[in-house]
């Protein structure tokens, strides 16, 4: 069952001025570079809902983009308010684990 096997974050904090650190309930720790996380957004503005094509032009995302705030969405995801004004993305725990660079 999904609920039993998907790890969930225990703590979400700053890795530095820009980047995000997640400590997971299975003990794993991930550090996400802010810009990579922004480019990994799967919302309907960034990825086409019908063709799954990438709509987001990486050149339009500033190099110093960073989260202004992070909040929890229900029990399955987080929402990030970005410094470039983008705020429609929901990052599921499953997706965050897939994006894990470490």
């Amino acid at each position: 069952m999904v609920t039993a096997t998907t790890p969930i974050p225990a703590e979400i904090s700053r890795a530095n001025e820009y980047d995000v650190r997640i400590r997971w309930d299975d003990g794993h720790e991930s550090i996400y570079l802010a810009r990579d996380l922004r480019l990994g957004c799967r919302c309907a503005h960034c990825i086409s809902e019908t063709t799954r094509d990438e709509l987001l032009d990486p050149r339009s995302v500033p190099a110093d983009v960073h989260p202004l705030s992070i909040s929890q969405v229900g029990r399955y995801a987080i929402h990030i308010q970005w410094s470039d004004g983008h705020s429609t993305g929901i990052y599921t725990f499953k997706r965050l684990r897939e994006l894990d660079p470490t």
Partner: protein
């Protein structure tokens, strides 16, 4: 042991607690001492009194546990009398967003079905009443905007009033606090809304209503896996969902989709209820399995979910709901009302299991 020993080694609190470690909570599968249930231990000579604080007033083994604890302590050397008081404190689902939106509400329980017409609203109303009858503080939110039927089932005539800070005061009926879209639209009007409006309504019903202190908030969802379900799952960490289905294969197939939706959103499923389980003929007493037998139980088992119980297909359940006096309040002695009471107890046990696990494993800490 000699008489002298008795007078020189009086019974102490540690000895009592040690002895009580024998008593286990069958649902939480742990002894009642390490669960922190034992409160206010008093020893005066050979007279012992203590309190057992359960995780729900709807505990099915309440009396058995009380007697077991009493006997174990009574058997200790030096004990002359034992008084066991039973109380309860419902544990809360952890989560910061819930603390802001619904500060006094401990558990939020959406009642869902895949298909419509499986009796979800009747089950929700009777379930809320059955939980309330055990002494719990209960609210009932009718989130079925398109066909709100809770006001009729609960026999509510009055309108909710406005409280301080423009907040809505729920209507209280049979001891349950109720809010419904049915209070805000006329009988002869239809609600034709798109997603953003539905999202806003959920916001209003959660944060804009003066729910006060509640142990359980039961939410009657519209059928399906749409906007309302998603908004609700995003808004607050729900305790877990209850899925209602008839035993019929077609209903179960759709119920599985609802279960999958909750799983994708990481909402635990507290259990499955089989409604319209079987029909008992009023004149000859013959049992008929109109929609097949035991389908929901088998489906729950195959998905590894708790099965909460069966509700029979009985005219009185339908008739009392149509009259605005659900069977749990109008005919509490009937088998049908008993079936709802049993389901409520099983549900409360599942909630306790979830929340006790949550106390060990706290909510996500975000510092960003």
């Amino acid at each position: 042991m000699s008489r002298l020993d008795r007078t020189h080694s009086p019974v102490t609190e540690p000895t009592i607690l040690k002895a009580l470690e024998e008593v286990r909570d069958p649902d939480l599968a742990r002894d009642i001492v390490s669960l922190g249930f034992i409160k206010e231990v008093r020893v005066e000579g050979g007279n012992v009194s203590f309190t057992i604080e359960l995780t729900t007033p709807a505990c099915p083994v309440r009396d058995k546990m009380q007697e077991e604890a009493r006997q174990i302590v009574a058997a200790l050397p030096g004990v002359q009398s034992v008084e066991v008081t039973m109380t309860s404190r419902v544990r809360s689902t952890p989560g910061e967003t819930k603390a802001q939106l619904l500060p006094g509400v401990k558990n939020v329980l959406p009642v869902a079905s895949g298909k419509g017409g499986v009796g979800k609203s009747t089950v929700s109303a009777n379930l809320a009443l059955a939980l309330s009858k055990t002494g719990a503080r209960v609210g009932l939110m009718d989130a079925d905007v398109y066909g709100p039927s809770i006001p009729m089932i609960m026999g509510v005539q009055e309108q909710p009033r406005q409280g301080a800070n423009n907040r809505i005061l729920p209507v209280e009926q049979y001891g349950v606090k109720i809010i419904s879209m049915g209070f805000f639209v006329r009988e002869d009007q239809a609600v034709i809304w798109r997603g953003p409006m539905l999202h806003k309504m959920i916001d209003q019903f959660l944060g804009g209503v003066e729910w006060g202190e509640l142990d359980y908030l039961v939410i009657d969802l519209p059928p399906g896996t749409g906007d309302i379900q998603l908004s609700l799952c995003q808004k607050i960490p729900l305790t877990g969902a209850v899925v209602v289905s008839t035993p019929q294969d077609v209903a179960l197939r759709v119920a599985k989709k609802a279960i999958l939706m909750f799983e994708q959103l990481n909402i635990p499923i507290l259990g499955v209820i089989e409604n319209m389980s079987h029909f008992v003929c009023g004149t000859c007493g013959t049992r008929e399995e109109i929609f097949g037998y035991g389908g929901a139980r088998r489906a729950a088992e195959s998905l590894g979910l708790p099965f909460l119980g069966e509700i029979p297909l009985v005219t009185a359940i339908r008739a009392t709901a149509d009259d605005g006096r659900p069977i749990v309040v109008s005919d509490p002695e009937t088998l049908s009302a008993g079936a709802f009471q049993k389901v409520a107890e099983n549900l409360a046990a599942q909630i306790s299991i979830r929340n006790m696990a949550g106390e060990v494993e706290p909510a996500i800490k975000i510092s960003f």
